[in-house]
């Protein structure tokens, strides 16, 4: 494979960023929009070309004896730390990378198109496109990374583009603080990742993924059985690297930034905080999967973190008012689903079914969650509020949005034949095969998912019409926004039938997806019951929900307040770190260190003031001193003579 297309994949969005970022101010919006869309369309075409060629060409570069190969298209030196630790920037093409190329370019294109309608009247539209381009560049750079350090570089870059996009409405203090929070939390997580990389490369000095994943035995051997605090250093390294993933993928307890990140423009939420960037953590684990397999403890860790997060986020999502927040928690929950699925994947359980399922879900989830977010954007665009309390009964006013949103909800709830059903079924069967406990646990989460999604769906589109509609009649969005919705809805309908196992598996060997009837039946039943329950509660306006709320006030409030995680963080950062440590250090600096230095100065001054009298200019005093000195000398002489 030539290097032109891969280079173009990185170069197009970056050039666009520079062009729009530097020249954007002087550019009319139309021009900026057209440039952005065209560039993205070409990017889409190139990504599809590359991915399809990889999957379907049958070239021996890509596939040997039915096993898909990993291929470094190019890999150039960027920075040499030592002789062996060399950072390179390259392009690694393999199944998950090709899949991600498709996902990113598709969603990015949809979002660009959608934003053209959604953001057209916002000031700084050009800047917005520039940031989107920067994000696309960084995300693509991340997925094609040949080595973990390249991934880290782009990891940081997606973080910063996320920061810029969340804070796009920079005049709003809430947007600013949300962007700050997102950046700092993920940065904290990245610190873990950096430390993980440091530990890993200290023992096994290479960054290259292929070197690492193909030599897992050597990696393990190179640590020489070193342990730290009871766990092997490799576990530590892997868990720390996973911490980075936890931050980006908003796993507990580093999830707090994601709901706030909804302050950004809605298309951004669809692109970054639903479909692409937040799955970077999953992608990272998938990338290093063979190495994680070596350390059982790290896999356990991933499973536990994922399972707890999935449940937590699902419960919280049931009690939110802001529809974007509901979707955000749903995203957290779904990503956690993927994490669990990766965590339970073992080569000996259906040939690593969990891995494949996780990737499959990543793919389908990206599509339907983007759909849902874009749909939510259309809703917000229509009623100018994020809260479902300002909505209700919208199905008559916004039919396109309604039907596409319903498809999205059905897909995420896991109803046949929508895409979510297939991927979720694969994940659940992987979990059931690993341990029934996790299977049932995650089935319950799936049920909750169906419940809260349909709670939102019913509250928004059924329930009762909001009286405000008389003054301000909501209507469907312009074509730029509707087309992406329709496309994504169509994808969500059919994506489940893709024989995904033929394309992406953990070791590149094809795997035939087969529906596990028992698991499918269970999850379908649970989902249907949950939907029915939601319908029973929310289809028509009634007081059952408020009665339920009153029955369990503490639980509702706690869930509504997201179990007080934000408050805990605020306490720790504001009170302890800011108020305690920082203020303390600043005080110490001013009043101890600086005061010591000043004390030296004032001591000198004090002494000089004291002895200034000797230099009074009074000749008489000088004479007195002179004579005293002379006398002392005389005395000394005398003593010496004696």
């Amino acid at each position: 494979m030539g290097i032109t297309l891969p280079i173009l994949i990185l170069a197009i969005p970056f050039t666009m960023f520079l062009v729009l970022g530097i020249g954007g101010v002087k550019m009319p919006r139309k021009v900026a929009g057209v440039i952005g869309i065209l560039a993205n369309a070409s990017l889409l075409a190139i990504c599809y070309t590359v991915a399809f060629r990889y999957f379907f060409s049958g070239d021996t570069q890509f596939i040997v004896d039915g096993v898909r190969q990993q291929l470094q298209v190019f890999d150039v030196t960027w920075l040499a730390f030592t002789e062996r630790l060399v950072v390179k920037i390259g392009f690694l093409l393999d199944p998950i990378c090709a899949m991600m190329l498709i996902v990113i370019s598709t969603i990015s294109f949809m979002v660009h198109l959608y934003s053209w309608g959604y953001m057209e009247h916002e000031p700084g539209f050009q800047r917005y496109y520039a940031f989107l381009a920067l994000f696309t560049f960084s995300m693509l750079g991340l997925v094609v990374a040949t080595n973990i350090f390249q991934m880290y570089i782009f990891w940081e870059l997606v973080g910063v583009s996320s920061f810029l996009l969340i804070g796009f409405f920079y005049k709003l203090p809430s947007a600013v603080s949300a962007s700050k929070k997102a950046f700092i939390v993920t940065r904290f997580a990245d610190l873990g990742m950096l430390l993980g990389i440091l530990v890993l490369t200290f023992y096994f000095p290479t960054f290259n993924f292929i070197d690492i994943t193909h030599n897992t035995g050597n990696v393990l051997a190179s640590t020489g059985g070193a342990t730290f605090l009871g766990a092997s250093v490799l576990t530590w390294a892997l868990v720390l690297i996973f911490t980075g993933g936890m931050g980006k993928s908003a796993m507990m307890p580093l999830h707090i930034w994601l709901p706030d990140a909804m302050e950004g423009p809605t298309p951004v939420s669809a692109l970054i905080h639903a479909a692409t960037m937040v799955v970077a953590g999953v992608y990272l684990v998938a990338r290093m999967f063979p190495l994680y397999l070596v350390e059982e403890a790290s896999m356990q860790f991933i499973t536990w973190v994922g399972a707890i997060t999935a449940f937590y986020a699902a419960v919280v999502a049931c009690c939110q008012i802001d529809i974007k927040r509901i979707l955000a928690f749903s995203t957290i929950s779904q990503i956690a689903f993927m994490m669990v699925s990766l965590g339970v994947a073992r080569p000996d359980i259906h040939e690593g079914l969990g891995y494949m399922a996780s990737m499959f879900h990543l793919f389908t989830h990206a599509m339907f969650k983007a759909l849902l977010f874009l749909g939510a954007g259309a809703l917000i665009h229509a009623v100018h509020s994020n809260n479902y309390t300002a909505m209700g009964g919208l199905r008559k006013y916004m039919p396109i949005t309604h039907w596409t949103f319903l498809i999205g909800c059905l897909a995420i709830a896991g109803i046949w034949p929508f895409s979510g059903f297939f991927s979720k079924d694969e994940m659940l069967s992987a979990m059931f095969s690993y341990s029934p406990f996790w299977g049932y646990w995650m089935t319950m989460v799936a049920g909750l998912t169906a419940f809260y999604m349909f709670r939102m769906y019913f509250l928004v589109f059924w329930w009762e019409e909001n009286p405000h509609y008389k003054e301000h009649k909501p209507h469907d969005a312009p074509w730029q926004m509707s087309v992406p919705l329709l496309i994504l809805a169509a994808v969500s309908c059919v994506a489940g039938f893709i024989p995904f196992g033929h394309f992406v598996t953990w070791n590149g060997e094809p795997y035939d997806i087969h529906i596990n009837a028992q698991v499918a039946a269970t999850s379908l039943t649970v989902a249907v019951i949950a939907i029915a329950f939601a319908g029973w509660l929310y289809l028509k306006k009634n007081d059952k929900p408020s009665l339920m709320r009153q029955a369990l006030p503490a639980l509702w409030t706690a869930a509504h307040r997201r179990f007080y995680w934000d408050e805990i963080y605020l306490f720790v950062t504001r009170k302890i770190i800011f108020g305690g440590i920082c203020k303390g250090i600043a005080w110490f600096d001013r009043h101890v260190i600086d005061a010591t230095m000043d004390a030296f100065a004032s001591m000198t001054q004090f002494v000089s003031v004291k002895i200034k009298g000797m230099q009074s200019g009074s000749v008489q005093t000088y004479v007195v001193w002179y004579f005293l000195g002379a006398l002392v000398l005389a005395a000394i002489t005398w003593i010496c003579i004696l």
Binding site: W78, L79, G167, R187, L195, L198, C582, I593, M597, D598
Partner: protein
């Protein structure tokens, strides 16, 4: 050379500007030419430790020479200095009283800096060091703002205190640096070849020299001159001081303290690792709660310069290379920061972040530049800070004992704290709603300000995108020092 230029000019503002711009451009061009030529010579296979060496007897009884020579590191430091002088000239385009005198002292300061970097004779090095320090007093005391006399005095006295230690150390090296009966020499290379300093003496002298240079490098607990000094200094002086002068400390640390006293460096590094490790974290935490933009930046400089010394003390090639990269990166970045703060202050007449807000709406150009500087500071890939910090961390992590690990992890954690304070400022000052309605009338950057900032940003991004040639140049220059260190064991 530039003194002459400035002296010739009369007190006409235009003429002074013209002379300064011409001078600094020539200087910049010469530095770039020097770098290119240097790389060419190296590529041609000239492998001697220092290139362009020359030595003129200056004062025979004490064997003081005016000995010059450069290696990869000093070449880059010269380039850095000339870039900052260049940008500083534009940043102080409208300096108010006595512009001629200002630039005169400014030039003297830069003369000291350049002289320092090219000297390989300890005495002339020290002399240039002092030449660079003294103008600071006047520049801050006369053209500063706020409590300028206090700050100027504090800065000068503390640095002079440092120089006193340094002089002791240098004299010690002079007297002990030659084998019995040989002619005493000040020349760094000769002393290092002689390698005859007794280990017990080395320990003492190492402490003297390291503390002496450490004061200039803002090492905890000798850093307090930095916040006050920077806060009160005029823009260009802050730029040059934080950007270049503080680097003299780091440069001296490895060029003299470590290169000439390797045994002591191996033995005593731990003490200073503790101090610099504290600097790194402490500076960052302090910066979190400051409300004056310049104080924030000064503490951030303490943190970053702490990182430089920290890296140098790791005594391995990668970390030390990272240290130099950090010097370059911090020099450019902090110069940019101070330039921007000066420009903002020049418009709003306040540096208190509580009184500002929404600068992005008022002066988008400066806002964007500030954000770029901030990203460079918190180590965003693609800008220079990232490269430097990563090199330091990977180098430092080569030590596997618990002590080093602990401090490396503390050091890495500073990148998060850096993010916190940078974003705090960006969020409060640059983004958010406009705090003060009067600020709405302010104007964005003028062309000379744009020129100053762009020249710095281009360098930042240049290092960030293509770090490897710098890395290789610096790495190669560390070979003699690493050899000296290895020869001890």
């Amino acid at each position: 050379m530039m003194i002459g230029l400035a002296c010739c000019s009369n007190s006409n503002m235009k003429a002074i500007r013209g002379v300064m711009v011409a001078g600094s451009t020539v200087l910049l061009a010469m530095s770039i030419w020097l770098v290119v030529d240097f790389l060419g010579l190296r590529a041609a296979g000239d492998a001697s430790e220092m290139l362009y060496t020359g030595s003129w007897m200056w004062y025979a009884p004490l064997n003081i020479h005016l000995a010059v020579g450069v290696d990869g590191i000093s070449v880059l430091m010269l380039l850095l200095s000339s870039i900052i002088v260049f940008a500083g000239t534009f940043a102080s385009w409208k300096i108010d009283p006595l512009p001629k005198n200002f630039f005169l002292w400014f030039c003297l300061l830069s003369t000291g800096v350049f002289g320092f970097f090219i000297s390989i004779d300890m005495f002339t090095m020290f002399m240039f060091y002092e030449v660079a320090l003294i103008p600071m007093y006047l520049l801050i005391g006369v053209w500063g703002t706020g409590r300028k006399e206090y700050s100027a005095m504090k800065l000068t006295l503390m640095l002079m205190g440092g120089s006193a230690f340094l002089m002791l150390g240098l004299l010690g090296i002079y007297w002990h640096g030659t084998p019995e009966g040989g002619l005493h020499t000040w020349n760094i290379l000769e002393i290092s070849h002689n390698a005859s300093i007794d280990p017990s003496w080395q320990n003492l002298l190492f402490c003297f020299t390291f503390v002496g240079f450490g004061v200039l490098g803002a090492m905890f607990p000798f850093h307090t001159w930095s916040p006050d000094g920077h806060a009160c200094a005029p823009t260009a002086v802050s730029m040059l001081h934080a950007g270049v002068l503080m680097k003299l400390g780091g440069y001296g640390c490895f060029r003299i303290a470590i290169f000439l006293l390797p045994a002591a460096a191996q033995e005593l590094a731990w003490i200073f690792i503790i101090l610099t490790g504290i600097s790194v974290v402490y500076g960052a935490f302090s910066a979190c709660v400051q409300t004056d933009l310049k104080y924030i930046n000064a503490y951030s400089s303490v943190s970053h310069c702490g990182m430089v010394l920290f890296a140098i003390l790791m005594l391995n090639q990668t970390a030390m290379t990272g240290g130099i990269l950090q010097m370059l990166s911090h020099g450019l970045m902090t110069a940019l920061f101070f330039a921007l703060i000066g420009m903002i202050y020049g418009r709003t007449h306040t540096r208190d972040i509580r009184e500002m807000g929404g600068m992005m709406q008022i002066m988008p150009y400066l806002g964007v530049c500030y954000m770029i500087a901030g990203f460079a500071s918190l180590g965003l890939p693609g800008l220079s800070g990232f490269v430097a910090e990563m090199t330091i961390f990977f180098g430092s992590f080569e030590h596997s004992d618990f002590f080093h690990r602990f401090f490396v992890i503390a050091g890495t954690s500073s990148i998060v704290i850096t993010a916190v304070y940078i974003l705090r400022v960006v969020g409060k000052v640059i983004l958010g709603p406009v705090q003060n309605e009067h600020h709405r009338e302010l104007t964005d950057a003028s062309w000379w300000e744009r020129l100053a900032t762009v020249s710095l940003i281009v360098c930042l991004a240049g290092i960030g995108f293509f770090p490897n040639w710098l890395n290789e140049t610096i790495r190669a220059s560390f070979v003699p020092i690493i050899d000296a260190l290895n020869s001890v064991f």
